[in-house]
Symmetry: C2
């Protein structure tokens, strides 16, 4: 039985870390939002699902994953589930909680990245909050991004297995997400990342190691990987990367 993944078809967004996990484990899945309305897929199917009645109230928002009867929302929660069912995280309690904790730090970082271009309101266009976005991006690039990247650098350095990864000797969902963070920051802030990324060589190497994993490399080269663009979390606005 195939997983059904529900997320907006035009962006990587908050859903991309889930797509990376599904691809890495070789899961049988349907990316519902990217399907056609003829097949009862597409954006209309996402909206219809969110408005449908069920024994359990539907999620607040995409991304969510349908796994048989289960409906699992929030990227970090989905990754915890996939971690348990596809050996994409440690299986002992301490390791599971630690992997999830790191993923929740990723979630916080992603929200701050998103808010660099939308500091006032999602409901406003970027152009309507550009001055505030410039201010926020200065602080983000000087303080917040180095603080988060420095934390993940310490996590990788502190991996008792001494591998390229954040935890243990094999990739977990945390590594896939760190890959996505580095790739996205390089896209959105190429000038700033050229300056600051050399301070985080282990995170940088983790990015390259993950990108070279065969299933990830194949995915990134496929049309299933939606290109970065100015509708998602990571947006290249030159005004914000002077």
């Amino acid at each position: 039985m195939a997983y059904e993944f529900y997320y907006w078809p035009w962006i990587q967004g908050r859903g991309e870390v889930v797509r990376l996990a599904l691809e890495y484990v070789g899961a049988d899945y349907v990316d519902i939002g990217r399907g056609s309305e003829e097949d009862r897929q597409g954006v209309a199917a996402i909206r219809a699902f969110l408005e449908s009645d069920a024994a359990q109230p539907q999620p607040y928002a995409p991304p969510f994953l349908k796994a048989g009867e289960l409906v699992i929302a929030h990227a970090a929660n989905i990754l915890m589930y996939l971690g348990d069912h596809h050996a994409l995280a440690p299986s002992d309690e301490a390791g599971r909680l630690y992997a999830h904790q790191l993923q929740l730090t990723v979630t916080d970082f992603v929200k701050e990245i998103h808010d660099t271009h939308h500091p006032i309101a999602n409901a406003l266009y970027f152009e309507d909050q550009i001055d505030e976005a410039k201010q926020k991006s200065v602080h983000f690039l000087e303080i917040r991004a180095p603080k988060y990247l420095g934390y993940f650098e310490r996590v990788i350095a502190g991996n008792s297995e001494g591998s390229d990864y954040a935890i243990g000797s094999a990739p977990t969902h945390v590594d896939l997400s760190i890959f996505q963070l580095i790739a996205g920051l390089r896209y959105a802030f190429p000038k700033a990342m050229a300056r600051i990324e050399p301070d985080f060589p282990l995170a940088s190497r983790l990015h390259d190691t993950v990108a070279a994993l065969p299933r990830i490399a194949e995915y990134l080269a496929s049309d299933r990987r939606i290109p970065f663009n100015e509708k998602g979390v990571f947006r290249r606005y030159p005004e914000l990367d002077p």
Copy 2:
């Protein structure tokens, strides 16, 4: 063996949902940040812990809970752990994931509430971003807060047990957090909440039901409950609640 809870002693902040859970289950715990330096507690002990070496790299930030050898960070992750160990969440996989999903929606809401007073940067004072905070608060109170509260209202209405709670017939960590959201929003935005809270009668009733639970009522009346103030997530700034 007592839990050790690590969070800033001067605020409810992101840690309060954990304090509420520890109090509700009657856990044996030490609120390290509120202890004295003579007992090797207090803020210095939190900072020392974060900078200490361990087999597993330390958390990015408080709150975190030490449970024997386990160190668990992020409020939602701690609540998942307490949910499992103190029957503060459903025990089946679907129920656990659903409770955690709702708690992660709480986390997102809390971040948006925090950002009403700090839309540009945490490193700046409120007074240095007051114009932006006013703009953000207008959108927050008109669009975001009603959207989140409306979601939790639907969750409570959709509870197949028909209780006052979000899930099942007994309180879970989700209910304690919805209580905290309502209490905090009433404190921070008394005028706006007087207008909008009547649209969410089930969330409002849930607040009152949780406040009357004997252990919660005792906690709220004790000096263990830090009063709301202008250093935490929920701040009463009249400029933001015109």
